[in-house]
């Protein structure tokens, strides 16, 4: 026998709790118990899977992930294993392929995905899946992000041997208010069934029929109406489950996806915003195991329509005389008008209502503006919702933690401001990013009509903007950069997916411009060229943000404050590990 290394690789790996695995001829080290599919994918050896989803139980039924596997030869009793010069045992390959999703790695295991056995197995499985598939890619919404399409291109045979009549199943079935099912496109991976059972905990979907007539269906009398139903559209590897909201709207290859976060709830669900030119088409969850795993609620997913709605304000509006209609104006004129009015007003007659829907950078600029004006009556609008024990927290504001950190406010002073408006002690009100007539803010139209002056920054028209003397058009979350801190104390980034619509401007810049026009001379405020620079200013000022930069937050965010709040779904997922 040739020389062996002093320490055998198996012992070295065992000391780290790992095992040595040969993949396509190269040796790697993986933690014990890792699935073969995960191991292969982690080193760039692609293993195609339909039914396997890391967050769901293993079904092992699509047979797409078949790989060639080998182990050291079984020793005769009393024999000692022999090792080659690298310290590995020889591998005897098994004649049958094994599924990579259910089997775990083991010491001295060999995996081959580039051999004939594996190639034939993949080609065979794809041929079977395609045999009864309608092949309607040209009208299928999944085209472009369809696993069946991708794997067929990568591993399929390219020719067609099936010439028989196809199995007929149900098409265009409405299985819920937001999801449509095409049973013929389905590859019966049962990801949707397992998702509803294991993640949502509602057994709504099941399989009916036998053999080739197997089909996904709702249980009698039930519908896929959970607030998490649209996640099945995401995990469906083919076009069987389609979103009623998105279907037939846009080819996915025309869309640009921007990683950002959801702003409808304090959880700050990580999302991808799919846009083409200046139009937003859909939202899908982005995996973040600390925030939302792979999922998101339907209501948050559909909360994008206001971005391109006709209510959007595209130019500054000013009202020059009381009772006159608002007229479009230019930014310089509008800000000049605001400054003129603000100079007339005593700080004690001024109040400002900011928002926990603002990014940290906007809040920082709001604080500077308040300081410049000497405002003491300042607060945010608190907003709550029914938590669902999944991903939705009770706090419906996306950045309450940030508002508390930057402004030191959490909504308790709102009543005082309301009282001041009603008893006439407050004459001038600045409403930033909030509709004051909304129930959570609690102002009435009469309250607003009674003011001497109302300045409003908002991205869409509402009763507050209609009552305002000056309206400055801000932007939605899709049009800006910034950071927010979610209920668990994790700072996360918002990314700009589209340019501000019309003449709207990023809110932080609006506040900076007003401060500057008011004569602010603080360089850290007026010299900031971008929200990223604002963040760096803040990192110096606020203890929890110390050392943070735009780059260091990354797409996954960073936990910076311990709020003691946790997300139930994430807690459950981590308990399962």
């Amino acid at each position: 026998m040739s020389t062996q290394p002093a320490i055998l690789p198996k012992d070295a790996a065992a000391a780290e709790g790992k095992v040595n695995v040969q993949i396509n001829g190269k040796w790697y080290r993986f933690p014990k118990g890792m699935r073969i599919a995960d191991a292969c994918n982690s080193v760039g050896v692609h293993v195609p899977c339909f039914c396997y989803h890391p967050k769901l139980s293993v079904a092992g039924s699509c047979r797409m992930c078949l790989v060639e596997q080998g182990m050291p030869p079984r020793l005769a009793p009393g024999a000692t294993p022999t090792y080659n010069e690298d310290g590995y045992q020889s591998i005897s390959w098994m004649p049958r392929a094994v599924i990579a999703c259910a089997n775990t790695v083991a010491e001295n295991m060999g995996i081959r995905t580039d051999g004939k056995l594996c190639a034939e197995a993949r080609r065979g499985v794809l041929e079977f899946l395609l045999s009864n598939h309608p092949l309607d890619c040209p009208i299928c919404d999944q085209a472009g992000e369809c696993k069946l399409q991708e794997y067929t291109a990568d591993y399929g045979s390219g020719t067609h041997r099936f010439t028989e009549a196809k199995t007929k199943k149900g098409k265009n079935i409405s299985i819920g208010p937001r999801v449509n099912l095409d049973q013929e496109r389905c590859v019966l991976c049962r990801r949707c069934v397992r998702f509803m059972k294991e993640i949502v905990g509602e057994e709504v979907l099941g399989v009916v029929g036998r053999g080739t007539h197997n089909a996904i269906a709702c249980y009698p009398g039930k519908a896929l109406d959970s607030n998490y139903s649209m996640n099945v559209v995401d995990i469906c590897p083919v076009g069987a489950m389609t979103s009623k909201d998105f279907r037939f709207k846009m080819r996915v290859w025309f869309l640009k996806s921007t990683p950002t976060i959801d702003v409808t709830n304090g959880t700050g669900t990580n999302i991808n915003l799919w846009t083409r030119e200046q139009q937003v088409y859909r939202i899908t969850p982005r995996q973040n195991d600390e925030v939302n795993s792979c999922w998101m609620p339907d209501d948050a997913r559909l909360a994008y329509k206001y971005i391109n709605a006709p209510e959007r304000l595209l130019t500054p509006l000013v009202r020059t005389d009381a009772g006159a209609p608002q007229r479009p104006s230019t930014w310089d004129a509008a800000i000049g008008l605001v400054v003129e009015q603000l100079h007339k007003c005593a700080p004690s007659e001024l109040a400002m209502i900011a928002s926990a829907r603002m990014t940290n950078e906007e809040l920082y600029m709001v604080r500077a503006l308040a300081k410049q004006l000497g405002i003491t009556k300042l607060d945010i609008v608190p907003r709550s919702c029914e938590p669902d024990n999944m991903l939705k927290s009770a706090d419906a504001n996306p950045n309450s933690v940030g508002a508390k950190l930057v402004l030191g406010k959490s909504g308790s002073g709102l009543a005082t401001i309301r009282r001041g408006v009603r008893n006439g002690s407050i004459r001038f009100l600045i409403a930033l990013g909030e509709d004051l007539t909304a129930p959570e803010a609690g102002f009435t139209k009469d309250d607003l009509a009674g003011l001497d002056y109302l300045l409003c920054v908002s991205h869409s028209a509402n009763d507050t903007t209609r009552a305002a003397d000056v309206v400055l058009p801000g932007v939605t979350f899709a049009e800006k950069y910034g950071t927010m801190i979610n209920v668990t104390g994790r700072i996360q980034r918002l990314n700009k997916a589209i340019e501000p619509l019309g003449e709207a401007r990023a809110d932080w810049g609006i506040y900076r411009s007003i401060s500057e026009a008011l004569g602010c001379d603080c360089v850290t405020v007026i010299a900031c060229p971008s929200p990223m620079m604002v963040l760096e200013q803040m990192a110096e000022e606020f203890e929890p943000m110390k050392g943070l930069s735009w780059g260091s937050i990354g797409n996954e965010g960073k936990a910076i404050i311990d709020t003691g709040v946790s997300i139930p779904l994430i807690e459950r997922e981590q308990a399962k590990k």
Binding site: S61, R63, G124, V125, F128, F162, E164
Partner: protein, 472 residues
């Protein structure tokens, strides 16, 4: 003892048979009551077993070399030892009475005519693996047997053979009867377990769901065939060594062979394993082919076993090691001999076809069965089976081309070995064997002249395109 047993006329055992399990089948004056069974020495073996330690019972069964009779032929005693050591969960025993392999019809006689034999075997097996809850999974198609079995279970409980503290041994056992809904796949042990749990009978993936480790409700579960459990009783009755001494060395004991198809006397026969060859069985015991016919093909172990041609030349080995030529008729009927020739003895269902049979039609019939019975869980089996059916149907209808025969074989090759459970092999082996061994019959059907029956409406329709207008 067997001298004073009388059998109903027409059901007398053949002289070459050895009736142990089938001792009371069609016996004159024997019924399914516990009285009759006890009078015949029933439950005595149980009493003996209960005096032994459970480990001793397992050791005895291991010593006997008893192999499972459901089809796979796995050693029963070894299976019992697969329960994880240090297990703290309850252990379950499931009797697989879902006898659904076409061509197999042995267990039905036991549950219809001698249910207490099975119950006694089950109690012994449960005692050995220390299971206190057992299930008889009976197929839908045995409604009468279900009634008989329910009655038998009640009788046994009344007599103290079931329930708490069986015969004062301190061992408790409850056996329930669970009825399936008539699906072939429920005979697959993990599909069966899912069916008991009230789920779709999708077979589970192995690993990790080996029933002996993670079975019914996640607990260690032993699944045994009806005949296997009856054989357990025989092992304890005769002693492991005595049992092992009889019959073929690697598959001792008796075997029940069900012969169906083109023989003069089809039926079930209990023989000492390996004591007869297929030729002796079919020609002597079953009376040979029907008048004027010759044997053409044999499926030796249930529908999913690979078919054997009767004129196939097999290579056998003489005791001195030299090779001799032989045919299927020279192969002994034990579990392993036929496996050396590329098929399997499986569940002992021998299906015989004579020269009047069209092999493509036989295959088409099998394909229809498998396409209907595929559970649909995994892609190759779900989509492959209907494809094979459609191809073989087309060939049988004379609408196939020679390439379709190769395609049919290729589809089977793509299923085999790539599925969750053994159904993948069960459904693809017939196609692989039929298309290889009887290729000429398939090819003949692809020739137009043979394909069209001359006077059928179909032929007239087809000829429409063969006839020129000006000739009409």
């Amino acid at each position: 003892m067997s001298d004073d047993i009388k059998y109903l006329p027409g059901h007398e055992p053949h002289p070459r048979e050895t009736r142990r399990i089938f001792r009371n089948i069609y016996r004159v004056g024997y019924d399914t009551s516990i009285k009759c069974f006890i009078k015949d020495g029933g439950y005595e073996t149980l009493k003996k077993a209960l005096t032994m330690e459970p480990a001793e019972v397992i050791a005895e069964v291991k010593k006997s070399g008893l192999r499972g009779r459901g089809g796979a032929g796995f050693p029963t005693g070894v299976k019992w030892t697969f329960i994880p050591r240090g297990n703290t969960k309850p252990v379950y025993l499931v009797c697989n009475c879902d006898e659904s392999e076409p061509g197999t019809f042995k267990d039905r006689y036991i549950v219809h005519q001698d249910p207490h034999q099975l119950i006694e075997g089950m109690i012994i097996a449960c005692y050995a693996v220390q299971a206190h809850f057992a299930v008889i999974y009976m197929r839908e198609e045995f409604p009468e047997a279900a009634n008989i079995m329910k009655k038998a279970l009640a009788e046994a409980e009344k007599k103290g053979f079931l329930g708490k503290d069986i015969l004062g041994s301190g061992f408790d056992l409850k056996i329930i009867l669970h009825r399936g809904a008539g699906a072939y796949i429920c005979g697959e042990e993990t599909g069966l377990i899912n069916s008991i749990e009230g789920l779709r009978p999708y077979p589970r993936i192995k690993p990790p769901f080996f029933p002996a480790a993670i079975g019914l409700y996640g607990c260690p579960t032993i699944v045994n065939n009806v005949e296997s459990l009856c054989q357990v009783r025989q092992v304890l009755m005769r002693g492991g060594e005595a049992y092992a001494a009889e019959g073929a060395q690697r598959s001792p004991g008796t075997r029940i062979i069900g012969v169906s198809g083109d023989v003069k006397r089809p039926g079930v026969y209990e023989i000492i394993s390996g004591s007869l060859t297929y030729g002796e069985m079919l020609n002597e015991v079953c009376g040979g082919p029907r008048r004027g016919r010759t044997f053409k093909a044999i499926i030796p172990g249930g529908a999913s076993a690979k078919v054997m041609r009767c004129d196939e030349v097999l290579k056998g080995r003489n005791p001195d090691g030299s090779v001799r030529k032989m045919s299927i008729f020279d192969v002994p009927m034990d579990l392993d001999s036929i496996a050396q020739h590329g098929s399997m003895s499986g569940s002992g269902g021998v299906i015989v076809m004579d020269d009047s049979r069209s092999m493509p039609k036989v295959l088409n019939n099998l394909n229809r069965f498998f396409a209907w019975e595929s559970c649909g869980q995994c892609s190759p089996c779900r989509e492959g089976n209907p494809w094979m059916l459609k191809l073989s149907t087309r060939i049988c209808e004379g609408k196939g081309s020679p390439e379709d025969v190769d395609l049919l074989k290729s589809v089977a090759d793509n299923i085999c070995g790539r599925t969750v459970c053994a159904f993948g092999e069960a459904c693809s082996w017939p196609t692989q064997a039929f298309t290889t061994k009887f290729r000429e019959e398939f090819l003949a059907l692809t020739k137009p002249i043979n394909a069209l029956k001359p006077h059928s409406a179909e032929a007239a329709e087809a000829r429409k395109f063969l006839t020129r207008d000006d000739e009409a």
